[in-house]
């Protein structure tokens, strides 16, 4: 209504208006960049700069007394790799095992919360997140009490002769669980489980319940429905969850330090000891970069294979 009357009653549009509009438009165009600025600054200061610094450190040589100079000594990378490949391999194996275990434990739970929990949903979610209210370190230390040699868990496992079998398999040693590979993998699984459950839950929860009904109408059995409908739709959650578990688990050193023995040390432990104790900064930096490159390569292949681009 008013639009039709406006041209007659309103004075002719003042000439400066288009300029103002252009200015406003330009300002509008800049808004995203202004909004990006804090994040970019953050990344530059706390991610890019340290990364460059570490990259530089990895090709330096020297000592604390004489200082470290960039000598493009790439040999450090090769030396670090040949010296510490067992720890690298172990990190990948432990992290991958823990990721698979997290998926096996986390998927049913996330499924339950998303589709079956009903009014308990919020409570169960809180239970999943609750461990975050205590420190990572304390939670890991708690496992030392739970898995203590004379504690109830190990006693039960021993009386059922389960530890005899696991010892044969080489994942425990004698009549104990602590200071063995099993303890480290269990610790990793426990500590990173929420990182698996949360993305799984958020992608499962988005699935339209009517799709399940439709699958049923088309004579799909429950398992077929899961295989053909639910699981493919939850793939973004699976990919995100496995990445969020695998990446930090591969670099973790707390679990190996507290729950493992000398034969369970992971690459994170080596980096820590090279950096802080041995004061061989170039080797520590080179190890970090090798780990980063290895993870990046594995993740790229994995994402390509799993064929999903949007990670929740």
């Amino acid at each position: 209504m008013s639009a039709t009357t406006a041209p007659e009653t309103a004075p002719p549009a003042p000439p400066p208006a288009p300029a103002g509009v252009a200015k406003a438009a330009r300002r509008k165009k800049l808004v995203p960049y202004w909004l990006l600025l804090p994040g970019i600054l953050w990344l530059v200061i706390f991610f890019a700069a340290p990364l460059v610094y570490q990259a530089s450190t990895s090709v330096q040589t020297g000592s604390l007394e004489e200082g470290f100079k960039v000598t493009w000594h790439f040999q450090t990378y090769w030396d670090a790799l040949t010296e510490y490949y067992p720890q690298f391999l172990r990190s990948v194996i432990y992290a991958a095992t823990a990721t698979v275990l997290c998926l096996l434990l986390g998927y049913p739970l996330a499924y339950l919360i998303a589709f079956r929990a009903g009014r308990w949903r919020n409570l169960v979610m809180i239970l999943v997140i609750a461990p975050f209210f205590t420190s990572f370190l304390i939670r890991t230390l708690a496992w030392k009490t739970i898995l203590s040699d004379s504690g109830p868990v190990v006693e039960v496992l021993n009386s059922l002769h389960i530890l005899d079998i696991t010892s044969q398999l080489g994942i425990t040693e004698g009549e104990r669980v602590l200071a063995t590979p099993l303890a480290v993998v269990c610790g990793l699984t426990y500590n990173f489980l929420p990182f698996m459950i949360l993305p799984l839950y958020s992608s499962l929860e988005r699935i339209d319940g009517r799709l399940h009904e439709a699958a049923g109408d088309l004579y799909a059995k429950p398992f077929t429905t899961f295989r053909k409908v639910t699981f493919p739709l939850s793939m973004p959650g699976v990919v995100a969850g496995t990445l969020l578990t695998f990446i930090p688990a591969a670099g973790d050193y707390i679990n190996a330090e507290l729950l493992g023995s000398t034969d369970q040390k992971m690459v994170g432990n080596v980096i820590q000891s090279q950096f802080l104790r041995v004061l061989d900064y170039p080797t520590a930096a080179a190890l970090s970069f090798i780990l980063m490159a290895a993870i990046l390569a594995m993740v790229t292949v994995y994402i390509r294979k799993s064929g999903t681009e949007d990670l929740v």
Partner: protein, 415 residues
């Protein structure tokens, strides 16, 4: 786009598919890909420049100019960084000896328990010290080998003896002349830390553990032996057990000791190399026997009567935690007055009674007896002559040796 070679054996649909992928598929030169490639290129070129620009300058001898700037007179305060559990404390979180110092001198002490680990603390303050900047701390407390390293690097200030009358007179004989700080020019010990053998009687089945040899060889202890990640304590005790002196250790002797421990580790004798967290393992019995710090043991024994300790016949290691003033500290004189205050026997006795480590102050026995007779007679706090004779210290290592020794030890611990 340049025309790309297309093999002739492809079927027309395949060729069509390939063309499509060139323009709109994965191989397409989209804006995103271009940006990505450009970004990577820019990063690579800029990166090279940035990389060679970095570097860590050699350790500066900042001692001379570090000493000049003292604001003690106009700023009545001192910033003291110490380990946790290293200061007497009442149940309502007051620190009586520090309060007394503040009352007496009017100097406000900002006491921070921010040292948990020597290597981590060094990592934390190294950048400032290396750059010749102030650390914000006037007084720090670190273990002797780290103190030695930082003095060697020229990062610690020389102390002014005229501000330290009590410390100068009361410092116990055995602590006066460490090889890493001759004549105590830069440091005064806060405590002595003996490393001895501890065991849990229940876990060993009543067996006594009396030597490092037994720790490394006794099959009854297999998988339940702990050693410390503190290289000088673990290797030092092993050297003593092998009849060598840690005061004069050579590279060959050091390697022999490492090989000795490695053999036991390969056999599965050693469960873990630990820091302070051995105490929990020992109490639970997960560790049957281990190398342990004496000050912890008095506390552990009070909580668990099964815990016993042995001073090995071959001797034991004593390290020290030392008070030092970093270069550029703003309140040097105040810090010196604080050091001196803790060398008054009455004050030192209060600290010894609370933290239970070896007290490096002469004339403390009578004062300590007034607080607790048992503590005054405990050789772990005030060693008698017989015990003092068995005490050893690891020799000062050069920077090169330190890196090489630590590297070998790190390999032993699996990292």
């Amino acid at each position: 786009m340049e025309p790309t070679h297309e093999p002739e054996s492809l079927s027309p649909p395949q060729i069509a598919a390939m063309r499509r992928s060139m323009t709109s598929g994965r191989m397409a030169l989209s804006r995103r890909n271009l940006l990505r490639a450009g970004g990577a290129g820019a990063f690579a070129i800029g990166g090279l420049g940035a990389l060679s620009g970095c570097g860590i300058p050699p350790a500066g001898r900042t001692e001379a100019q570090g000493a000049s700037d003292d604001h003690s007179a106009e700023e009545k305060q001192v910033n003291f960084s110490n380990w946790t559990e290293y200061m007497d404390e009442t149940d309502d979180k007051r620190r009586p000896t520090l309060d007394e110092f503040e009352r007496r001198t009017g100097i406000k002490v900002k006491y921070t328990e921010d040292i948990n680990d020597n290597v981590e603390f060094f990592g934390k303050i190294k950048p400032q010290l290396a750059a010749g900047q102030e650390t914000g701390r006037d007084l720090i407390c670190v273990t002797d080998w780290l103190a030695g390293r930082m003095i060697r690097l020229g990062w610690m200030q020389q102390l002014d003896a005229s501000n330290l009358p009590h410390a100068y007179t009361n410092l116990a004989e055995g602590f006066r002349n460490p090889d890493w700080d001759p004549g105590r020019a830069h440091s005064y010990p806060w405590t002595g830390i003996p490393a001895v053998i501890a065991y849990n009687k229940k876990a060993t089945g009543g067996r006594k553990v009396t030597s490092i040899s037994q720790l490394l060889d006794d099959p009854k202890l297999k998988g339940r032996v702990g050693m410390l990640t503190e290289m000088r304590d673990t290797v030092g005790l092993t050297l003593l057990d092998m009849g060598k002196r840690p005061e004069t250790v050579t590279t060959d002797e050091y390697e022999a000791a490492i090989a000795r421990i490695q053999k036991a580790a390969d056999r599965g004798q050693i469960r873990r190399f630990t820091g302070n967290d051995y105490t929990g393992d020992l109490t639970k019995g997960d560790l049957a026997a281990c190398v342990a710090w004496a000050g912890d043991l008095i506390q552990l024994q009070a909580d668990n009567p099964e815990i016993e300790f042995t001073i090995p016949d071959a001797g034991y290691m004593t390290a020290t935690d030392n008070l030092l003033i970093p270069s550029k500290a703003r309140h040097k004189k105040n810090a010196e007055r604080l050091i001196d205050y803790y060398y008054e026997p009455k004050v030192a006795a209060k600290i010894a009674a609370y933290i239970n480590y070896v007290c490096p102050v002469d004339g403390v026995r009578a004062e300590l007896a007034k607080i607790d007779k048992d503590l005054a007679n405990n050789p772990l706090i005030l060693p008698d002559d017989e015990m003092a004779a068995k005490s050893h210290a690891f020799r000062l290592l050069s920077s090169k040796e330190e890196t090489a020794f630590e590297d070998k030890f790190a390999k032993l611990t699996g990292a």
